[in-house]
Protein backbone atom coordinates (compact mmCIF):
# COMPACT_ATOMS: atom_id res chain seq x y z
CA UNK A 1 0.00 0.00 0.00
CA UNK A 2 1.31 3.44 -0.86
CA UNK A 3 1.78 6.11 1.79
CA UNK A 4 -1.05 8.11 0.24
CA UNK A 5 -3.34 5.09 0.34
CA UNK A 6 -2.52 4.47 3.99
CA UNK A 7 -3.22 8.11 4.81
CA UNK A 8 -6.57 7.95 3.03
CA UNK A 9 -7.46 4.80 4.92
CA UNK A 10 -6.53 6.44 8.21
CA UNK A 11 -8.65 9.52 7.47
CA UNK A 12 -11.55 7.28 6.47
CA UNK A 13 -11.25 5.29 9.69
CA UNK A 14 -11.19 8.47 11.81
CA UNK A 15 -14.24 9.79 9.99
CA UNK A 16 -16.10 6.52 10.51
CA UNK A 17 -15.20 6.51 14.20
CA UNK A 18 -16.49 10.05 14.69
CA UNK A 19 -19.66 9.36 12.73
CA UNK A 20 -20.33 6.19 14.72
CA UNK A 21 -19.50 7.58 18.13
CA UNK A 22 -21.11 10.97 17.93
CA UNK A 23 -23.93 10.95 15.43
CA UNK A 24 -26.17 13.82 14.62
CA UNK A 25 -29.08 13.35 16.98
CA UNK A 26 -31.92 14.88 15.06
CA UNK A 27 -32.83 16.98 12.03
CA UNK A 28 -35.91 19.21 12.00
CA UNK A 29 -36.99 20.83 8.77
CA UNK A 30 -37.86 24.53 8.79
CA UNK A 31 -38.86 27.04 6.12
CA UNK A 32 -35.28 28.36 5.98
CA UNK A 33 -33.76 24.86 5.84
CA UNK A 34 -33.29 22.76 8.95
CA UNK A 35 -32.10 22.61 12.53
CA UNK A 36 -29.52 19.91 13.22
CA UNK A 37 -29.03 18.73 16.78
CA UNK A 38 -25.50 17.67 17.70
CA UNK A 39 -24.65 15.72 20.82
CA UNK A 40 -20.96 16.67 20.75
CA UNK A 41 -20.41 19.56 20.76
CA UNK A 42 -23.79 20.22 22.32
CA UNK A 43 -25.37 22.58 19.86
CA UNK A 44 -28.28 23.28 17.57
CA UNK A 45 -27.06 24.15 14.08
CA UNK A 46 -29.35 26.19 11.83
CA UNK A 47 -28.57 25.53 8.16
CA UNK A 48 -30.01 26.62 4.85
CA UNK A 49 -31.92 24.28 2.52
CA UNK A 50 -28.88 23.36 0.44
CA UNK A 51 -26.91 22.20 3.44
CA UNK A 52 -29.97 20.53 4.98
CA UNK A 53 -30.52 18.60 1.76
CA UNK A 54 -26.97 17.27 1.89
CA UNK A 55 -26.90 16.54 5.62
CA UNK A 56 -30.24 14.70 5.77
CA UNK A 57 -30.06 13.27 2.22
CA UNK A 58 -33.38 14.82 1.27
CA UNK A 59 -34.73 14.17 -2.23
CA UNK A 60 -37.53 16.27 -3.67
CA UNK A 61 -39.17 19.17 -1.87
CA UNK A 62 -40.71 18.55 1.56
CA UNK A 63 -43.99 20.39 2.17
CA UNK A 64 -42.38 22.87 4.54
CA UNK A 65 -39.97 23.97 1.78
CA UNK A 66 -42.69 24.95 -0.66
CA UNK A 67 -42.49 28.68 -1.06
CA UNK A 68 -39.62 31.10 -0.76
CA UNK A 69 -36.56 30.17 1.27
CA UNK A 70 -36.43 32.88 3.91
CA UNK A 71 -33.86 33.44 6.59
CA UNK A 72 -33.85 32.36 10.22
CA UNK A 73 -36.27 34.63 12.07
CA UNK A 74 -38.32 35.55 9.00
CA UNK A 75 -41.07 33.18 10.10
CA UNK A 76 -42.16 31.56 13.33
CA UNK A 77 -40.40 28.20 13.72
CA UNK A 78 -42.38 25.02 13.04
CA UNK A 79 -42.21 24.28 16.79
CA UNK A 80 -40.29 25.64 19.80
CA UNK A 81 -36.65 24.72 20.35
CA UNK A 82 -37.32 24.27 24.02
CA UNK A 83 -40.19 24.08 26.46
CA UNK A 84 -39.98 25.45 29.98
CA UNK A 85 -42.12 23.30 32.21
CA UNK A 86 -42.99 24.61 35.63
CA UNK A 87 -43.63 21.20 37.14
CA UNK A 88 -44.82 22.55 40.46
CA UNK A 89 -45.26 25.83 42.28
CA UNK A 90 -44.39 24.22 45.60
CA UNK A 91 -41.34 25.73 47.25
CA UNK A 92 -40.60 26.59 50.85
CA UNK A 93 -37.84 29.12 50.19
CA UNK A 94 -40.11 32.18 49.99
CA UNK A 95 -37.76 34.39 47.94
CA UNK A 96 -39.01 37.99 47.90
CA UNK A 97 -38.64 38.30 44.14
CA UNK A 98 -39.92 34.83 43.13
CA UNK A 99 -41.27 35.25 39.60
CA UNK A 100 -43.82 32.47 40.04
CA UNK A 101 -44.97 33.45 43.52
CA UNK A 102 -44.14 29.92 44.72
CA UNK A 103 -45.38 28.73 48.12
CA UNK A 104 -45.24 25.55 50.25
CA UNK A 105 -48.81 24.80 49.17
CA UNK A 106 -48.12 25.09 45.45
CA UNK A 107 -50.71 25.94 42.82
CA UNK A 108 -54.18 24.53 42.45
CA UNK A 109 -54.71 21.70 39.96
CA UNK A 110 -51.02 20.90 39.57
CA UNK A 111 -50.32 18.14 37.08
CA UNK A 112 -48.71 14.87 38.07
CA UNK A 113 -46.43 12.40 36.32
CA UNK A 114 -49.08 11.02 33.96
CA UNK A 115 -50.07 14.44 32.62
CA UNK A 116 -46.47 15.63 32.21
CA UNK A 117 -45.61 12.44 30.33
CA UNK A 118 -48.45 13.25 27.94
CA UNK A 119 -47.03 16.75 27.58
CA UNK A 120 -43.62 15.29 26.72
CA UNK A 121 -45.28 13.09 24.09
CA UNK A 122 -46.85 16.19 22.50
CA UNK A 123 -43.57 18.13 22.61
CA UNK A 124 -41.60 15.22 21.14
CA UNK A 125 -44.15 14.79 18.36
CA UNK A 126 -43.84 18.52 17.58
CA UNK A 127 -40.06 18.24 17.29
CA UNK A 128 -38.99 20.13 20.43
CA UNK A 129 -35.32 19.52 21.30
CA UNK A 130 -34.82 20.53 24.92
CA UNK A 131 -36.79 20.81 28.15
CA UNK A 132 -35.99 23.25 30.93
CA UNK A 133 -37.62 21.93 34.09
CA UNK A 134 -38.26 24.22 36.99
CA UNK A 135 -40.71 25.31 39.62
CA UNK A 136 -41.29 26.07 42.46
CA UNK A 137 -38.74 23.47 43.47
CA UNK A 138 -39.01 20.51 41.13
CA UNK A 139 -36.28 18.55 42.94
CA UNK A 140 -38.79 17.61 45.65
CA UNK A 141 -41.04 15.78 43.20
CA UNK A 142 -40.67 12.02 43.77
CA UNK A 143 -41.26 11.33 40.07
CA UNK A 144 -38.76 13.85 38.67
CA UNK A 145 -36.24 11.14 37.76
CA UNK A 146 -38.86 9.04 36.00
CA UNK A 147 -40.00 12.07 34.01
CA UNK A 148 -36.41 12.88 33.00
CA UNK A 149 -35.88 9.30 31.86
CA UNK A 150 -39.10 9.42 29.87
CA UNK A 151 -38.02 12.66 28.20
CA UNK A 152 -34.73 11.01 27.17
CA UNK A 153 -36.62 8.04 25.78
CA UNK A 154 -38.70 10.42 23.65
CA UNK A 155 -35.57 12.13 22.33
CA UNK A 156 -35.78 15.28 24.44
CA UNK A 157 -32.91 16.47 26.62
CA UNK A 158 -34.17 17.44 30.09
CA UNK A 159 -32.33 20.25 31.90
CA UNK A 160 -33.05 21.52 35.38
CA UNK A 161 -32.96 24.61 37.54
CA UNK A 162 -32.98 24.09 41.30
CA UNK A 163 -32.52 26.28 44.36
CA UNK A 164 -30.42 23.53 45.94
CA UNK A 165 -32.35 24.12 49.15
CA UNK A 166 -34.74 21.17 48.99
CA UNK A 167 -34.75 17.67 47.51
CA UNK A 168 -30.99 17.51 47.06
CA UNK A 169 -30.45 13.92 48.21
CA UNK A 170 -32.89 12.64 45.59
CA UNK A 171 -31.47 14.89 42.90
CA UNK A 172 -27.91 13.65 43.39
CA UNK A 173 -29.07 10.15 42.45
CA UNK A 174 -30.69 11.23 39.19
CA UNK A 175 -28.33 14.06 38.17
CA UNK A 176 -26.93 12.04 35.26
CA UNK A 177 -30.32 12.07 33.53
CA UNK A 178 -30.13 15.83 32.91
CA UNK A 179 -28.16 17.61 30.23
CA UNK A 180 -27.35 20.57 32.44
CA UNK A 181 -28.27 21.47 36.01
CA UNK A 182 -28.03 25.03 37.24
CA UNK A 183 -28.45 26.15 40.82
CA UNK A 184 -30.01 29.54 41.49
CA UNK A 185 -27.44 31.68 43.27
CA UNK A 186 -28.20 35.39 43.30
CA UNK A 187 -25.20 36.49 45.31
CA UNK A 188 -22.52 35.41 47.74
CA UNK A 189 -22.96 35.34 51.50
CA UNK A 190 -24.79 38.50 52.68
CA UNK A 191 -25.74 39.50 49.13
CA UNK A 192 -27.65 36.24 48.69
CA UNK A 193 -29.71 37.21 51.74
CA UNK A 194 -30.20 40.78 50.51
CA UNK A 195 -31.55 39.59 47.15
CA UNK A 196 -33.58 36.59 48.27
CA UNK A 197 -34.73 37.78 51.68
CA UNK A 198 -33.15 34.94 53.69
CA UNK A 199 -29.67 33.57 54.26
CA UNK A 200 -29.47 30.46 52.09
CA UNK A 201 -25.99 30.86 50.65
CA UNK A 202 -24.31 28.12 52.69
CA UNK A 203 -26.98 25.57 51.71
CA UNK A 204 -26.92 26.57 48.03
CA UNK A 205 -23.13 26.40 48.03
CA UNK A 206 -23.21 22.94 49.62
CA UNK A 207 -25.67 21.81 46.94
CA UNK A 208 -23.41 23.14 44.18
CA UNK A 209 -20.43 21.25 45.63
CA UNK A 210 -22.37 17.99 45.89
CA UNK A 211 -23.83 18.28 42.39
CA UNK A 212 -20.45 19.20 40.91
CA UNK A 213 -18.93 16.13 42.56
CA UNK A 214 -21.22 13.87 40.54
CA UNK A 215 -21.73 15.91 37.37
CA UNK A 216 -19.63 18.12 35.14
CA UNK A 217 -22.46 20.12 33.56
CA UNK A 218 -23.40 22.19 36.60
CA UNK A 219 -23.70 25.96 36.55
CA UNK A 220 -25.41 28.80 38.34
CA UNK A 221 -28.31 31.06 37.43
CA UNK A 222 -27.91 34.58 38.74
CA UNK A 223 -30.80 37.04 38.74
CA UNK A 224 -29.01 40.37 38.38
CA UNK A 225 -30.34 43.15 40.60
CA UNK A 226 -29.05 46.53 41.67
CA UNK A 227 -27.92 44.80 44.90
CA UNK A 228 -25.64 42.17 43.38
CA UNK A 229 -24.46 43.96 40.21
CA UNK A 230 -21.26 45.17 41.87
CA UNK A 231 -20.57 41.61 42.98
CA UNK A 232 -20.73 40.03 39.51
CA UNK A 233 -16.97 39.69 39.24
CA UNK A 234 -16.87 37.85 42.56
CA UNK A 235 -19.68 35.58 41.41
CA UNK A 236 -17.67 34.63 38.31
CA UNK A 237 -14.66 34.02 40.56
CA UNK A 238 -16.82 31.75 42.70
CA UNK A 239 -17.98 29.84 39.60
CA UNK A 240 -14.37 29.39 38.51
CA UNK A 241 -13.33 28.20 41.97
CA UNK A 242 -16.14 25.64 42.02
CA UNK A 243 -15.25 24.56 38.42
CA UNK A 244 -18.75 25.29 37.16
CA UNK A 245 -19.53 25.01 33.48
CA UNK A 246 -21.37 28.31 33.10
CA UNK A 247 -22.85 31.40 34.66
CA UNK A 248 -26.27 32.31 33.31
CA UNK A 249 -27.38 35.87 34.02
CA UNK A 250 -31.06 36.75 34.21
CA UNK A 251 -32.73 40.13 34.24
CA UNK A 252 -35.13 40.79 37.11
CA UNK A 253 -38.72 40.39 35.87
CA UNK A 254 -41.84 41.98 37.37
CA UNK A 255 -43.73 38.71 37.60
CA UNK A 256 -45.17 36.82 40.59
CA UNK A 257 -43.81 38.34 43.82
CA UNK A 258 -41.26 40.06 41.60
CA UNK A 259 -43.97 42.48 40.47
CA UNK A 260 -44.09 44.20 43.85
CA UNK A 261 -40.31 43.96 44.34
CA UNK A 262 -39.48 45.20 40.83
CA UNK A 263 -38.84 48.88 41.59
CA UNK A 264 -36.54 48.11 44.49
CA UNK A 265 -34.66 45.28 42.78
CA UNK A 266 -34.31 46.15 39.10
CA UNK A 267 -30.94 47.36 37.90
CA UNK A 268 -30.30 51.05 37.39
CA UNK A 269 -29.93 52.45 33.86
CA UNK A 270 -26.21 52.92 34.46
CA UNK A 271 -25.86 49.27 35.46
CA UNK A 272 -27.75 48.15 32.37
CA UNK A 273 -25.57 50.27 30.12
CA UNK A 274 -22.39 48.81 31.58
CA UNK A 275 -23.77 45.24 31.72
CA UNK A 276 -22.03 43.81 28.64
CA UNK A 277 -18.48 45.06 29.28
CA UNK A 278 -18.83 44.09 32.96
CA UNK A 279 -19.80 40.47 32.28
CA UNK A 280 -17.36 39.94 29.42
CA UNK A 281 -14.51 41.26 31.55
CA UNK A 282 -15.51 38.93 34.39
CA UNK A 283 -15.89 35.95 32.04
CA UNK A 284 -12.46 36.64 30.56
CA UNK A 285 -10.75 37.21 33.88
CA UNK A 286 -12.11 34.04 35.46
CA UNK A 287 -12.36 31.90 32.28
CA UNK A 288 -15.99 30.99 32.76
CA UNK A 289 -18.60 30.68 30.02
CA UNK A 290 -21.33 33.28 30.27
CA UNK A 291 -24.91 33.07 29.10
CA UNK A 292 -27.52 35.78 29.23
CA UNK A 293 -31.26 35.52 29.03
CA UNK A 294 -33.29 36.81 26.09
CA UNK A 295 -34.43 39.95 27.92
CA UNK A 296 -30.86 41.29 27.98
CA UNK A 297 -30.61 41.76 24.22
CA UNK A 298 -31.39 45.52 24.37
CA UNK A 299 -28.49 45.93 26.82
CA UNK A 300 -26.16 43.95 24.54
CA UNK A 301 -26.96 45.85 21.36
CA UNK A 302 -26.45 49.14 23.22
CA UNK A 303 -22.74 48.49 22.59
CA UNK A 304 -23.39 47.97 18.88
CA UNK A 305 -21.80 44.54 18.46
CA UNK A 306 -21.53 43.07 14.97
CA UNK A 307 -25.11 42.33 13.95
CA UNK A 308 -24.16 39.30 11.87
CA UNK A 309 -22.15 37.88 14.75
CA UNK A 310 -25.15 38.18 17.07
CA UNK A 311 -27.34 36.42 14.50
CA UNK A 312 -24.78 33.64 14.08
CA UNK A 313 -24.68 33.18 17.85
CA UNK A 314 -28.47 33.01 17.91
CA UNK A 315 -28.65 36.04 20.19
CA UNK A 316 -32.30 37.00 19.97
CA UNK A 317 -34.47 39.11 22.22
CA UNK A 318 -37.98 38.02 23.03
CA UNK A 319 -38.58 34.66 21.36
CA UNK A 320 -41.52 33.65 23.55
CA UNK A 321 -44.14 31.76 21.56
CA UNK A 322 -41.53 31.04 18.89
CA UNK A 323 -38.16 29.60 19.98
CA UNK A 324 -39.56 28.74 23.39
CA UNK A 325 -42.79 28.16 25.25
CA UNK A 326 -43.68 27.76 28.88
CA UNK A 327 -46.24 25.69 30.74
CA UNK A 328 -47.81 26.43 34.12
CA UNK A 329 -48.09 23.70 36.80
CA UNK A 330 -51.63 22.97 35.58
CA UNK A 331 -50.36 22.56 32.02
CA UNK A 332 -51.61 25.85 30.59
CA UNK A 333 -49.36 26.99 27.79
CA UNK A 334 -47.59 30.36 27.92
CA UNK A 335 -45.25 32.25 25.59
CA UNK A 336 -42.59 32.18 28.31
CA UNK A 337 -42.42 31.35 32.00
CA UNK A 338 -42.96 34.95 33.10
CA UNK A 339 -45.98 35.54 30.88
CA UNK A 340 -49.60 34.93 31.74
CA UNK A 341 -51.42 32.37 29.57
CA UNK A 342 -52.26 34.02 26.23
CA UNK A 343 -55.78 35.27 25.51
CA UNK A 344 -58.41 32.72 24.65
CA UNK A 345 -58.80 32.21 20.91
CA UNK A 346 -62.34 32.34 19.56
CA UNK A 347 -61.63 29.50 17.13
CA UNK A 348 -60.52 27.19 19.99
CA UNK A 349 -62.93 28.44 22.64
CA UNK A 350 -60.45 27.97 25.50
CA UNK A 351 -56.93 28.53 26.65
CA UNK A 352 -54.81 25.60 25.46
CA UNK A 353 -52.65 23.36 27.59
CA UNK A 354 -49.26 22.12 26.50
CA UNK A 355 -50.59 18.80 25.16
CA UNK A 356 -52.54 20.86 22.62
CA UNK A 357 -49.44 22.65 21.30
CA UNK A 358 -49.75 21.33 17.73
CA UNK A 359 -53.32 22.57 17.24
CA UNK A 360 -52.60 25.95 18.88
CA UNK A 361 -49.21 26.75 17.32
CA UNK A 362 -50.38 27.86 13.88
CA UNK A 363 -53.63 29.54 14.92
CA UNK A 364 -53.93 33.20 13.91
CA UNK A 365 -53.46 35.28 17.05
CA UNK A 366 -51.63 32.54 18.94
CA UNK A 367 -49.45 33.95 21.75
CA UNK A 368 -50.89 37.44 21.25
CA UNK A 369 -48.34 40.28 21.45
CA UNK A 370 -45.41 37.86 21.54
CA UNK A 371 -45.78 37.28 17.82
CA UNK A 372 -46.64 40.81 16.68
CA UNK A 373 -43.18 42.32 17.21
CA UNK A 374 -42.78 42.86 13.44
CA UNK A 375 -45.50 45.54 13.67
CA UNK A 376 -43.56 47.58 16.22
CA UNK A 377 -43.77 51.36 16.17
CA UNK A 378 -40.93 53.79 16.83
CA UNK A 379 -38.40 53.82 18.31
CA UNK A 380 -38.08 50.05 17.76
CA UNK A 381 -39.04 50.02 14.07
CA UNK A 382 -36.01 52.12 13.05
CA UNK A 383 -33.53 50.19 15.19
CA UNK A 384 -31.05 48.19 13.12
CA UNK A 385 -31.16 45.39 15.71
CA UNK A 386 -34.95 45.13 15.86
CA UNK A 387 -35.21 41.85 13.95
CA UNK A 388 -32.92 40.32 16.57
CA UNK A 389 -34.08 42.12 19.69
CA UNK A 390 -37.80 41.97 18.80
CA UNK A 391 -38.66 44.88 21.08
CA UNK A 392 -37.12 43.63 24.32
CA UNK A 393 -38.91 41.96 27.21
CA UNK A 394 -42.69 41.96 26.82
CA UNK A 395 -43.24 41.05 30.46
CA UNK A 396 -41.41 44.22 31.55
CA UNK A 397 -43.34 46.28 28.96
CA UNK A 398 -46.67 44.85 30.11
CA UNK A 399 -45.89 45.65 33.75
CA UNK A 400 -44.45 49.14 33.29
CA UNK A 401 -46.50 50.41 30.33
CA UNK A 402 -49.59 48.21 30.53
CA UNK A 403 -48.95 47.05 26.97
CA UNK A 404 -46.85 43.99 26.16
CA UNK A 405 -46.25 45.22 22.62
CA UNK A 406 -44.79 48.57 23.75
CA UNK A 407 -41.02 49.09 23.55
CA UNK A 408 -39.03 47.76 26.48
CA UNK A 409 -38.81 50.73 28.89
CA UNK A 410 -35.39 49.62 30.18
CA UNK A 411 -33.78 49.55 26.70
CA UNK A 412 -30.99 52.17 26.70
CA UNK A 413 -31.93 53.34 23.18
CA UNK A 414 -35.62 53.64 24.04
CA UNK A 415 -34.76 55.57 27.21
CA UNK A 416 -32.46 57.93 25.31
CA UNK A 417 -34.99 58.68 22.58
CA UNK A 418 -37.93 59.02 24.94
CA UNK A 419 -35.82 61.23 27.20
CA UNK A 420 -35.33 63.69 24.35
CA UNK A 421 -39.07 63.98 23.72
Amino acid sequence: MTLLGAARELVGAVRARIAAARPMKRVRLEKFGAILQLAVPRALIFVDRTMARRMARIDGDPAVWRGREGGLGDHVLSAPLEAHLQLTNKCGAGCVGCYTGASPQGASNEWGLVEWKRAIDALADAGVFHLALGGGESAVLPWLGELATYARERGLVPNLTTSGLEGLDGLIGIADRFGQINVSLDGLHATYAAVRGFDGFARADAAIRRLRAVKREVGINVVVTRHNFAELDKIFAYASERRLSEVELLRFKPSGRGASAYKAMRCTSEQHESFLPTILAAAKRHRVRVKVDCSYTPMLVHHRPDRDLLAELCVYGCTGGDFLIGAKPDGRITACSFAAPPPELVQLGKRPNVTELASYWDQPGAFGAFRTWRDAAEPCSSCEYHSLCRGGCKVVSAHVRGDASAPDPECPRVRAIEGQQ
Binding site: I18, M24, G33, L38, V47, R57, V64, A132, L313, L324
Partner: protein, 62 residues
Protein backbone atom coordinates in the same frame (compact mmCIF):
# COMPACT_ATOMS: atom_id res chain seq x y z
CA UNK B 1 -19.05 24.17 -8.45
CA UNK B 2 -22.25 23.20 -6.65
CA UNK B 3 -23.18 25.25 -3.58
CA UNK B 4 -22.41 23.39 -0.37
CA UNK B 5 -24.91 25.29 1.69
CA UNK B 6 -24.46 27.52 4.68
CA UNK B 7 -24.61 27.46 8.46
CA UNK B 8 -26.92 30.30 9.46
CA UNK B 9 -26.50 30.17 13.22
CA UNK B 10 -25.24 28.00 16.04
CA UNK B 11 -26.92 27.86 19.43
CA UNK B 12 -24.37 26.44 21.83
CA UNK B 13 -25.13 24.28 24.85
CA UNK B 14 -28.41 23.63 26.55
CA UNK B 15 -30.54 25.95 28.55
CA UNK B 16 -31.34 24.71 32.04
CA UNK B 17 -32.99 27.95 32.97
CA UNK B 18 -36.69 27.31 33.06
CA UNK B 19 -37.57 30.97 32.82
CA UNK B 20 -36.08 32.28 29.59
CA UNK B 21 -33.91 31.48 26.61
CA UNK B 22 -30.24 31.61 27.50
CA UNK B 23 -27.63 32.25 24.87
CA UNK B 24 -23.89 31.84 25.18
CA UNK B 25 -22.25 35.22 24.59
CA UNK B 26 -18.71 34.15 25.46
CA UNK B 27 -17.88 34.40 21.74
CA UNK B 28 -18.39 38.15 21.93
CA UNK B 29 -15.07 38.19 23.77
CA UNK B 30 -13.20 36.95 20.75
CA UNK B 31 -15.39 38.37 18.03
CA UNK B 32 -16.33 37.35 14.54
CA UNK B 33 -12.89 35.99 13.68
CA UNK B 34 -13.13 33.11 16.14
CA UNK B 35 -16.62 32.22 14.96
CA UNK B 36 -15.39 32.36 11.38
CA UNK B 37 -12.88 29.68 12.35
CA UNK B 38 -15.31 27.56 14.36
CA UNK B 39 -18.12 27.54 11.79
CA UNK B 40 -16.19 25.66 9.07
CA UNK B 41 -15.07 23.13 11.70
CA UNK B 42 -18.70 22.53 12.65
CA UNK B 43 -19.49 22.28 8.92
CA UNK B 44 -16.82 19.63 8.53
CA UNK B 45 -18.15 17.72 11.54
CA UNK B 46 -21.63 17.80 10.03
CA UNK B 47 -20.37 16.51 6.72
CA UNK B 48 -18.58 13.63 8.43
CA UNK B 49 -21.63 12.79 10.44
CA UNK B 50 -23.86 12.90 7.41
CA UNK B 51 -22.36 9.49 6.57
CA UNK B 52 -25.05 8.30 8.97
CA UNK B 53 -28.07 10.29 7.85
CA UNK B 54 -30.85 10.97 10.32
CA UNK B 55 -34.43 10.98 9.10
CA UNK B 56 -35.73 14.54 9.32
CA UNK B 57 -38.84 15.36 11.28
CA UNK B 58 -41.47 17.61 9.85
CA UNK B 59 -44.56 18.78 11.66
CA UNK B 60 -47.48 16.71 10.34
CA UNK B 61 -49.63 19.73 9.58
CA UNK B 62 -46.95 21.50 7.53
Amino acid sequence: MARRGRILAIKWGMNPNSSSLGVDVTFLLVGATALAIVTPIIGALLRWRSNKPVAPTESPDK
